[in-house]
């Protein structure tokens, strides 16, 4: 079914159409969120918030824009909020003089095996650099499309992307821990 038809169906209140949108965008949104946040639980929270927000603001979606980019823009914002919350709680924990609780798994009884998340290398990058890198490498986005998601000019997006690529290259050459573990 065409994306625009699904959107029109959602606007008419058809939840089935919205379910199809959620299913269609769950995996790409999750991969982007995981690459930005480096954490599965946070990524799932961000995706849930994303789809709720998409549903609520579907009326304001501009049909001339790419729907995927619009969804990614919202997700990027949600991820930034999540990182901000994480930073604030880390600062709070630091102030309280306790050991950071962020290092402990959110759900110790989780049945899934521990999966390597791309946190080691990507944590060295800024969130916008990670986003630019992920969109470029996974989605094949151009600087202009990345700029549309990050809400910046294509020049700025291009610089973010190249900075990120340069940092990654440098870290890999330095024999980062990731390589040793990998």
């Amino acid at each position: 079914m065409d994306e625009q038809e699904l959107i029109a169906g959602c606007l008419r209140g058809r939840m089935e159409d919205f379910r199809m949108i959620v299913e269609r965008y769950s995996a790409p949104a999750m991969s982007l969120a995981m690459n930005i946040l480096g954490n599965r639980d946070d990524a799932e929270d961000a995706c849930q918030e994303l789809f709720i927000q998409v549903y609520r603001h579907l009326k304001s979606y501009d049909k001339d824009r790419s729907f995927k980019n619009w969804v990614y823009t919202i997700l990027y914002r949600r991820c930034l909020d999540c990182l901000k919350r994480r930073r604030q709680s880390a600062e709070l924990v630091k102030k309280m003089g306790r050991e950071t609780v962020l290092a402990t798994p959110a759900n110790p009884g989780h049945s899934h095996p521990p999966r390597r998340l791309p946190s080691d290398l990507l944590e060295r990058l800024k969130a916008k650099e990670r986003t630019a890198l992920c969109l470029w490498a996974n989605e094949g986005y151009t600087a202009q499309e990345i700029g549309e998601v990050l809400r910046c000019s294509d020049s700025t997006a291009r610089v973010y992307l190249f900075q990120a690529r340069k940092k990654i290259k440098k870290l890999l050459e330095q024999g980062h821990v990731w390589l040793q573990n990998g």
Binding site: F18, Q48, Y55, N138, S155, R165
Partner: protein, 160 residues
Amino acid sequence: MSGCKTVELFYALVPLKPWRSLLIRRHIEKCPRCLASFASRETVGSLLVQEREVNISRPLWAEVESALVGDPGREMMKSRAVQSSVLRRWGWATATAFLIVLVTGFLLLKGFRPGGASPTAAVPARFELEYVRVGGQPANTVIYQPQGSDMIIVWAGTNK
């Protein structure tokens, strides 16, 4: 080779994004030697979580749906609450404005002045002079009332 060094130098020296973007577009993207100092798409792709690797452990749709099922009602309630709150605010604003107009009008009609009693308000009766003559001739007349006093001084004099 020397061109690459120059570009690198300019890139490092001028930290302006449009400038750096220009250097990237004009030189770095096209130069194999420069591109070698940036991670390739394949390398980056191998570091990132791919779409096919994603395994969502939580029933995402169920959670989204449960959050949205109550949503229209909540939204309606919210919009109604917002609407009634706006109406209430407008009501209060109108009532306050009406009260202010009423009080101001009343005070103006009563001749009230916040600074104290006005000279005219202190005069118990209207004081009028139609025509003043001195020695049968029209006179220049000055009427004076000291502040805070009931006394009125009429000064009349001829031009001579």
